[in-house]
């Protein structure tokens, strides 16, 4: 589906592309480059909106053939049930193959230790890296966007990682034109970010245009939450709330979906895509600023996690 574009002087340029068509075309090009040049690509799929968008774009890129990739979910064990349900339905619907790397299994086996603050986001790096090594994935699609965070603003579309998944900003290859260099040594892999150039608003507008189904927690609903570090967190088995934290029922929705212990909900009445888009267009807070405790830790929190192999 494409949109007719009216240029500012009012005439219709028959060869103009809308910004959503441009971004879609670029992302599809990236998926096809990876399919053409790599042997074992995998899509990181959490059931969050960015990974849902990636899957939708991949399905379009290879239609009417099935996508030539499998999916990998790094499961923190602190999942929203609605999101796990969505994940499983999607895998079933498209006949996909899903790998799961479980943080809980690593904790149970004593290979990872629970953090004092209860958050498991930073614990995902080891299971992710070991899954990449074990399955010999050579290209790993992530839904990271450059508008999310300032370290991500410097990220390449093809981001080379060593055998420990480490990111070295000084070793990143210049990316010119649309020529992506995916060469890597045995044991290394490339993280690929096909939606690098999308903003949060683009993602939502495209979801609306394409009629993509999302997990219901992205829309306003009544939920039992408590306040921590200025965010509304969901009470649950992961350990919250602590004694002094008061649980109350509020009308909220999620702007991002991650580990329950550090992903905050925002107050919202937006029950439809249209209402969500209006709300985002008017929001004065960034997506991660409003909803992610782990990025508030320091000025370079994301850069440090990325260097260690995070998404």
């Amino acid at each position: 589906m494409s949109t007719v574009v009216t240029v500012p002087d009012g005439t219709v340029n028959p060869y103009a592309l809308s910004h959503l068509d441009s971004l879609e075309s670029e992302a599809v090009h990236i998926f096809r480059e990876v399919a053409g040049e790599f042997e074992r690509p995998v899509i990181l799929f959490s059931g969050g909106k960015d990974s849902i968008l990636m899957l939708h774009l991949a399905l379009k890129a290879f239609a009417p053939a099935p996508i030539p990739f499998t999916l990998l979910h790094v499961d923190t064990g602190h999942n929203f049930p609605e999101v796990l349900d969505y994940r499983d339905r999607t895998v079933e619907k498209h006949g996909l193959r899903l790998h799961v790397a479980s943080v809980q299994e690593y904790i149970d086996a004593g290979k990872l230790r629970e953090r004092p603050d209860g958050t498991r986001n930073p614990l995902q790096t080891v299971p992710l890296t070991e899954a990449i090594q074990q399955h010999r994935f050579d290209a790993v699609f992530g839904g990271g966007r450059r508008d999310e965070e300032k370290a991500r603003a410097k990220e390449r579309v093809f981001s080379l990682r060593d055998e420990f998944s480490q990111w070295d900003p000084r070793r990143q290859r210049p990316e010119l034109w649309q020529l992506y260099n995916g060469r890597h040594a045995a044991g290394e892999h490339v993280r690929v970010f096909p939606i690098s150039n999308w903003t949060e608003l683009d993602v939502w507008q495209y979801i609306e245009r394409e009629g993509i189904e999302l997990p219901e927690i992205y829309f306003a609903h009544e939920r039992e939450v408590f306040s921590r570090s200025g965010m509304w967190l969901t009470a649950g088995e992961w350990g919250g709330p602590k004694d002094h934290e008061k649980v109350e029922t509020r009308r909220v929705r999620y702007r991002t979906v991650g580990d329950m212990s550090c992903t905050g909900a925002v107050d919202s009445d937006a029950t439809t895509l249209d209402a969500v888009i209006t709300e985002i267009a008017a929001s004065r807070l960034t997506e991660r600023g409003a909803t992610r405790a782990d990025d508030k830790m320091s000025e370079a929190a994301m850069e440090d996690r990325k260097r260690e192999g995070y998404f």
Binding site: L20, K60, A65, A300
Partner: protein, 445 residues
């Protein structure tokens, strides 16, 4: 933002680059564009204010918005290309914010490679300096279609028209001599906000657009019917399912021009001809498709086509060659030398190649050239002659940025060594000023 979803989704996308240093007020300009278009959000401003005060600065330093890496913040400089995103009701923008100093030429080249427009900043007090000429040369080499000269700090020269006019005239003459097709000069004060987003109250003599107005209205797609149509094949789609037993489509992104169903096409490098039977544009069948759409093309005849091939109109196909002459920017820390064995990546095709000659190196500041340098090191611009192991369907970069560009890659460790642009360096014929500093016709001015 009071626009409806419908209006927002019907906007076009402009990719543009800024080159300059903190001294020119580049960060202030970028900060103001983002801030005044309400693209910097409260939590980002708070983070910048906190980080600035931690460093003992009085006012929030908007450069901290874009200098995302620890090393950049510690050294107070922009090292890498930072991509910034903002939107107005009329257009979506992707800004490649690049550092201006000569040791970061490769980053400037990277940012300019995908830009439709480049903003070159000068300080009104200093006028056109060495760095300005280098930025104009990068824009000209990379064939950026539109260049904006932002004459900044007009408040420090009493908003005087003659100051602006003299700088604009000097720059326009220089850039035009390099073949920059369109130059727009705008007098601004990024600090005071004159002519960035809002028109200036201090420069009645200026009747042109503000920087943002110009960014919003500059045409993003040139006349595609004038371009040579080019389609590099990325991937062959063959479902071989019960539903689609015989489907065979060639997936790719149209690199240039327009393709139509029923058109006679050649497949290169084999040179076989056939007809376009159908075009699938991500879920819908269409009769016509154009750059930069990602589509799948079906051909009437069952001929051998694979990744790396190029589909082009039968009567307008590029020549196929194994000898490449090009202007390059060396982007790696390790040098490029004559006799070096490399990989050459052109569109979707990667072939073995050898560097036969490096006839010259060019200094972008004054366009002086240095014959037979033997090697190129990081940030050098030079001419190279490369012989490839297999034929390439290569256009002149001047005719087609996407099918005239290539990378040289180190086969041992995969490092991207060099960015290449096939054919002549600059578009324009020699003009007196430019020719004076160039020794001979090697550079094809």
């Amino acid at each position: 933002m009071n626009t409806t979803t419908e209006q927002l989704s019907a906007t076009t996308l402009l990719r543009f680059a800024t080159a300059g240093s903190v001294d020119d007020g580049k960060s202030t300009l970028v900060g103001r564009l983002l801030h005044d278009s309400k693209s910097v959000l409260t939590d980002q401003l708070e983070a910048v204010a906190l980080a600035s005060s931690n460093r003992g600065q009085e006012a929030p330093d908007l450069a901290l918005l874009t200098d995302g890496l620890r090393a950049e913040r510690e050294q107070g400089i922009t090292i890498d290309v930072a991509y910034r995103y903002f939107a107005t009701p009329r257009r979506r923008f992707i800004l490649a914010d690049t550092p201006g100093h000569v040791q970061y030429t490769r980053n400037m080249v990277t940012g300019a490679s995908t830009a439709e427009l480049a903003v070159v900043l000068v300080d009104a007090r200093n006028g056109v300096v060495e760095q300005t000429r280098r930025h104009a040369a990068v824009a000209a080499l990379l064939r950026v279609p539109h260049v904006v000269l932002a004459v900044n700090k007009m408040d420090l020269v009493d908003y005087a028209e003659p100051v602006f006019a003299a700088i604009a005239e000097e720059f326009t003459a220089y850039a035009a001599s390099l073949g920059v097709p369109e130059i727009t000069a705008i007098p601004i004060s990024a600090l005071a906000g004159d002519n960035v987003v809002e028109p200036s109250a201090h420069m009645d003599w200026y009747g042109g657009p503000t920087v943002l107005e110009h960014l919003e209205t500059v045409p993003v797609s040139h006349d595609l019917t004038e371009c040579h149509a080019r389609f590099p094949v990325q991937y062959v789609i063959r479902p071989q399912t019960a539903e689609h037993p015989d489907y065979r489509g060639y997936a790719g992104q149209i690199a240039a021009g327009v393709f139509r169903v029923g058109e006679r096409v050649s497949v290169l490098p084999s040179g076989r001809t056939t007809t376009i039977e159908g075009i699938d544009a991500l879920g819908e069948s269409v009769d016509v498709a154009w750059a930069p759409q990602s589509v799948t093309i079906r051909l009437a005849d069952d001929i051998d086509v694979s990744r790396g091939d190029l589909i082009a109109p039968a009567d307008d196909a590029p020549a196929v060659t194994q000898d490449v002459e090009a202007t390059v920017c060396h982007v790696a820390d390790q040098p490029l030398t004559v006799g070096q064995r490399v990989l050459l990546k052109h569109t979707t095709r990667t072939v073995k190649a050898i560097v036969k000659d490096i006839p010259s190196r060019l200094t972008l500041d004054d366009l002086s050239q240095h014959p037979a340098p033997g090697t190129l090191v990081a940030n050098d611009i030079g001419r190279v002659v490369v012989r490839t192991a297999e034929p390439l369907a290569l256009d002149a970069y001047a005719d087609s940025r996407r099918t005239g560009s290539f990378l040289l890659i180190d086969p041992a460790d995969g490092t991207t060594l060099t960015a290449g642009m096939a054919g002549a360096s600059f578009a324009a014929e020699a003009d007196a000023d430019a020719a004076a500093s160039a020794d001979d016709a090697e550079w094809d001015f």
